[in-house]
């Protein structure tokens, strides 16, 4: 598999994170296959995929937080230093300070028996060496930045006393407290009410822009990514199958899977009663149960024998991994 590599050294300076041939395996079974991409400074990139595509595992591998039993190979270069090769101690200096992650379910991701204030202050005390009082006022400021109502009161509240949206705001405050260079958000709004989702996304984008950070937004929700991100990576079966700017990929998809995803979204301005919902034939196989070669083979209308071998991803800016791309 051909990886991205760093072909252009001057480009490297603009890249916050470069992932090269990242592979995640459960024992001998590979679940993320030689994924490669680069995140530019200040850029918002979306990682799209259904459940089981390996997108969350990719994020966890970058952070070095894979669950027991999973291992990662390849290189994850943060400013030229390979995160996968770092010691736990070195990684701890990076996590929360330079690279931060926001998780999907704030109710379980926050410690239920610890006050919000304490949890939000923690990265500041850890990475900025602040004392208790200083960290507390900085935490209040962080809560104000995420527009949490009554931030001073909320400092003494416990997670279960907040609403879902408020909890996620607290999580965002926690993650952005040290102004990290890269924020990875794993389905940050999926567990929230639809009405709250837009607010949270807007908040996230605002903070990221303000801080000049890069954002890696992981989601299965195409419209969300289309609205928020500039670049998008499409993942299926542990492979990146398409990559490019949001306009290119969503406007003129090259990979059949992307096309199918877009087709499956019902549009409000179409004549609904006369159109059937277009689902993708078949269903997503379980981890480790993908066919050899292109993982989308069994469900692809354009597949044939040559697809038994995994195609390399090719193209210049708008790339796809397919023997029979749409364009």
């Amino acid at each position: 598999m051909i990886g991205l590599g760093v072909a252009d050294p001057s480009q490297a300076q603009h890249d916050t994170l470069v992932v090269e041939d990242l592979t995640v395996a459960v024992g001998t079974v590979e679940v993320v296959h030689q994924v490669s991409f680069a995140l530019e400074a200040g850029q918002r990139t979306g990682l799209i995929g259904e459940s089981g595509s390996g997108k969350t595992l990719t994020a966890l591998a970058i952070m070095g937080l894979l669950p027991e039993g999973l291992s990662a190979n390849g290189r994850v270069l943060y400013r030229g230093r390979d995160l996968l090769a770092m010691s736990e101690r070195e990684l701890c200096a990076v996590r929360g300070d330079r690279v931060a992650m926001i998780f999907q379910e704030p109710m379980t991701a926050l410690n239920p028996v610890m006050k919000i204030g304490e949890q939000v202050s923690e990265p500041l005390r850890l990475h900025r060496g602040m004392g208790a009082r200083q960290a507390r006022s900085a935490a209040v400021q962080a809560l104000e930045r995420v527009r949490l109502p009554d931030p001073v009161e909320k400092m003494h509240a416990y997670p279960h006393q907040l609403s879902g949206g408020q909890r996620q705001r607290a999580m965002i405050a926690m993650a952005t407290a040290c102004s990290p260079e890269l924020v990875i958000a794993d389905e940050p709004t999926t567990a929230l009410d639809v009405t709250v989702q837009a607010q949270i996304l807007e908040l996230l984008v605002g903070l990221v822009e303000e801080g000049g950070s890069s954002l890696l937004l992981i989601s299965h929700d195409l419209p969300v990514v289309a609205n928020v991100c500039q670049r998008v990576l499409v993942m299926y079966g542990g492979h990146i199958v398409e990559e490019g700017s949001v306009d290119d990929v969503f406007g003129e998809p090259r990979h059949p899977y992307t096309r199918a995803l877009l087709d499956a979204i019902p549009s409000l301005d179409e004549d609904l009663p006369s159109r059937k919902l277009r689902a993708i034939a078949g269903s997503v196989p379980g981890l480790g149960e993908f066919p050899p070669g292109c993982p989308f083979r069994n469900r692809c209308p354009r597949a044939d024998d040559v697809c038994a071998v995994m195609p390399a991803i090719e193209g210049s800016d708008h790339r796809a991994a397919c023997w029979h791309p749409l364009a």
């Binding site: 937080l65 379910e105 379980t108």
Partner: protein, 315 residues
Amino acid sequence: MGVQILIRVAWLIVSLIAASILVFAVTNVLPGDVAAVILGTSATPEALDTLRHQLGLDQPAWIRYVQWVGGMLHRDFGTSLLSHSAVGPLIVQKLSVSAPLAIASAVIALALALPMGVVAGVNYRKTSGAIISAVSLLGIAIPTFWAGLLLATIFAIQLKLLPAGGFVDWSDNPLGAARSLILPSLALGLVQAAVLTRYVRSAIVDVQREDFIRTARAKGLTRWQALRRHGFRYAAIPVVTILGIQLTGLLVGAIVIENVFVLPGLGRLLFQSVGNRDLIVVQDLVMLLTAVVLVVNFLVDLSYRLIDPRIRSSA
């Protein structure tokens, strides 16, 4: 929250009453006859009747029940049917043996189980964790009285370091008294430690799988820091709950151990009184033990509600 506490206090009182009825009912179904035990089998029926009347045994059950409960509430525990001495002071005297024994065992158990459980939990995938787990599994299977016998064999009989039984009064020889308690509290404490270790380990293993530990690590905390700052207070909740239940085990173990080492404590008193059909003492002791268990469980339940903020504020 205050209402919740009141409700629980009410239930505690109901439980105590229910327990007292149960205890009274069981002990007074005794076919054995205290009068016969006291006077011997050759006593005449008239003598037996007189004695029964003297001891108040010919009154209807419910009157005796009320007298008993009323007495206890006034700190009058009646008089032993056999020795005619007041039961209250008798209990207090025996407590001077049983209480230090129980406390020493509890301390040993906690001092061993907490660190070992944490180590076993943190290293649950490594050999060190597995070893501790295996040892604690063995420890649970060992009957307390066997542990006592083994310890006595080794330290008392073979090595002649500590007494194999008996007890000197605190006032006569405090050092000797303490020495008499070493082996029994070790036997009891070690077995209890094994049981507790399992629970502590289990709580630590579980908490490490929680999402918020992953979040803590994502913030830059090391595994150990995440466990210490976030995990411990969360894991404390199930452990505290268990401690209350463990108390019952401790009390039972104490009763048995006192008989192994011939310690003149409450356990031995209970045992002897049952054999002598000394109703009053049996009733009082069983009621006392049950009350202690019920009250401690109530307190643990209360503290559990205080520790866990989710319950505290939703009540």
